[in-house]
Amino acid sequence: MSGDSPGHDDGSLDEAEFVRRIAAQDEAAFRSVIETHAPLMHRIAYRMMGDAHEAEDITQEAMLRLWDHAPRLIEKGRAGGLKLTPWLKRVTVNLAIDRLRVSKRVTDEEHAPEQVDADPLADAAIEAHEEGAAARALIAALPERQRAAIVLTYYEELPNAEAADALDMNIKAFESLLFRARAALRKAFEAAQAQEQGGAA
């Protein structure tokens, strides 16, 4: 992005300038934003969805939202309320959560289980032969928002305040969500390990 900087020293000013140019349908500016931000958005989407095609789809959709909504974002920017990177993260997380909910609804309707599995993670993790699959299973067993909290803070190493912003939550509520997410993850991991040891024995 620095190579195509509109000439501001401040990063936030750069972002505002990029949005202004995108609102004016400047394709070079848009391409530059894609190249700079798409990898981050793709990482978030992939770790939330566990599927490369879905992740690319979400990243593309989020970028097109930027293209469509840039004029309105400028209005926000004038009021001092726009920062491009957090906005892109928020849109990506929202789109991922939305897709997870839709797919969950479809899955529930098609394969409604007779009984809720108290620990759905354990089987999935034990059956996973690869380390990557086990990690994906661990994350996939979390509810959508807990999943997002772990992805943003653990993998992307965002401070809690930024992660809370991406999830449109206040910091207290986010910390509470994160605590629950970590506890659920540990519990599931321990259960998976216990089953694995039991199976080996």
Partner: protein, 316 residues
Amino acid sequence: MSDPDTNSAPIAPDSPLGHALSGHDVPALSPDFADRVMARTQGRPDPLPPLRRGGGGKRRWSTARRLTVGALAAGALASAAAATGLLNDLPIDLPSPEQIWDRITGEDSEPVPQPQSEPQESVAPEEPEEVAVEGPIDSPEELEEAFNRIDERRGERREQRRSRVDQRLDEALQQRREQGLPAPTPEQEARLRERLEQGRDRRDALIEDRRATSREDLRERIESGEELTPREVLREDRAGALRPETRERLEEFRELSPQERRERIRQFRERRQERGGQRFRRLIEERPEPPAEVAGDEDSASVEQPDDTVAPDQPE
């Protein structure tokens, strides 16, 4: 197993869980990703114009009707109060300038005779006995007057809360549209608002039913010669609007120590904050059903609940 504190602590990358999570590698984006996105920008339709605030016609009419009825009722009550001299009997004691001066100087001045207006002949042959809600309430008239004042104030607060909820809903929809999330069509939005309105009406009717029962109890207590303080009446009247189980929890809450109460309030606010956002999201995202099918669903009104009722573990 682990204790709760350890469970919620940050995950160390060199811990067994950290090792397990580290396998979650991300594949690279397709090389032609940027080209594909650029290609998709061609021939896209213009974004929708900003949401017109104020909702549908029905809601506007219903708000206007409520405001008009409220204004007329407030005017009529104020006129009636002034005409019957009720305002003179409000328990507000304004000191005269002489009294203030005496308090400053510590002296007792001679009482200054107040100008007396000419006694007026009463138009009505018999003036009804004036009702003053001051000190203990021990007559049915005083109790009814207390109810009237409570209802008047409650009506204002209900209007404020409703407009706040409407505003939050407008903002949530606007935000969803801006962030590119699925948002209801105008028809779905109209149905959603109608459901919200129905839920409110249904909920108000339930509360009024419960309150009517609780007021009957208070009337019986007065008739049996009991004296009540205005605070007691207000408290009983508030609690009467709650469901029995909520009322029980509120009683339990009152028994807690101040520290425990503070902690419960903190937890409640936290839950409310999280739940409030989720409720709005759920309300907006779910496919609106025909009104007849959701007539028994209390959840449609629950979006208002955090503000509109005394929470089980929330102080009055």
